[in-house]
């Protein structure tokens, strides 16, 4: 279960996984995503990674959660201000 800063449970792992796979599944089939040294992956490969819960799948879930949280925290643009 992922938790927000106040330590409240907001979404279960399964809910996040569903959210991320829903987002990925609408991508164009020719879209590829470069994940640095982890590699470059197609939409279908990424969906499998999220379902499997490997490092790339976990990172996608983390990005999704942080992005959602940023709206609430009013910190959309600056995590590490210059």
């Amino acid at each position: 279960m992922k938790k927000d800063k106040e330590n409240k449970r907001i979404l279960s792992d399964e809910e996040i996984r569903k959210l991320v796979t829903a987002r990925l599944s609408v991508l164009s089939p020719d879209t590829m995503i470069s994940f640095g040294s982890d590699g470059t992956f197609s939409r279908d490969e990424l969906v499998k990674k999220v379902e499997k819960g490997d490092d790339v799948g976990e990172k996608l879930a983390e990005i999704q959660l942080e992005w959602l949280r940023s709206f609430k925290d009013d910190s959309l643009y600056e995590n590490y201000p210059n």
Partner: protein, 216 residues
């Protein structure tokens, strides 16, 4: 007397990610040359540790632009050869503005580098992620999906070449990320747009500009 700006670039190229970074860094090479900057291009198998270290010592560049895979404590070159590693040779970047277009190096390598006097390090404290199109892998410069990512990240170098400070260069880059982010966030026609927006936001949020205490 006008002193010419000097830049060293590393552009490894051995798989999709490095091919994209290398090709788009080539645009910076062209811009720098147009503006009369002295540029040393360490491309493909010239992006090696010995080559880079030797050239930094000899040329004493103002800016080092490192493209390639990275981790918390290092940035790699061709075929994943480590070019700069914390505790090994990171001090060689002292007195230089470094832009590491790579994952994670802003986390530990950057803070170590800026312990040297008059030093700046721009990099990313987490994954640098970009979207591309399978149909354009052979021609990255024409890939419309990669463009907003590369354009935004390259803005650091565009700004530095114009003579701006590292802080201002990073700010300009973040502004470009933000501009592209908002464009994709409000796009309702492209099925990729929301995911593209999210990754642009991620890169913008994790870009850092670190500077030594004595840097003005």
């Amino acid at each position: 007397m006008i002193v010419c700006m000097k830049i060293i670039l590393t552009r490894p190229q051995y798989e999709i990610t490095t091919k994209y970074l290398s090709c788009w860094a080539g645009e910076i090479l062209i811009l720098a040359k147009k503006r009369g900057v002295e540029v040393l291009d360490l491309a493909k198998n010239k992006a090696r540790k010995d080559e880079l270290v030797g050239r930094i010592k000899k040329l004493q560049p103002d800016i080092v632009f490192l493209n390639g895979h990275g981790d918390d404590d290092c940035i790699a070159g061709h075929d994943d050869e480590i070019l700069i590693k914390l505790g090994d040779n990171h001090k060689i970047l002292g007195g230089i503005i470094t832009y590491g277009l790579s994952c994670n190096a802003g986390k530990k390598l950057g803070p170590a580098v800026i312990k040297e006097s008059q030093t700046s390090f721009i990099g990313y404290v987490d994954k640098f992620i970009f979207v591309c199109d399978n149909d354009y892998i052979a021609k990255p410069l024409q890939d419309p999906k990669a463009k907003p990512f590369m354009e935004s990240s390259n803005q650091v170098m565009v700004s530095l070449i114009k003579g701006n400070s590292a802080k201002k260069a990073s700010l300009r880059s973040k502004e470009k990320f933000k501009e592209n982010y908002l464009k994709f966030l409000s796009n309702q026609n492209d099925p990729d747009s929301l995911q593209v927006a999210q990754f642009l936001w991620w890169n913008m949020r994790h870009q850092v500009c670190l500077e030594s205490k004595d840097k003005k």
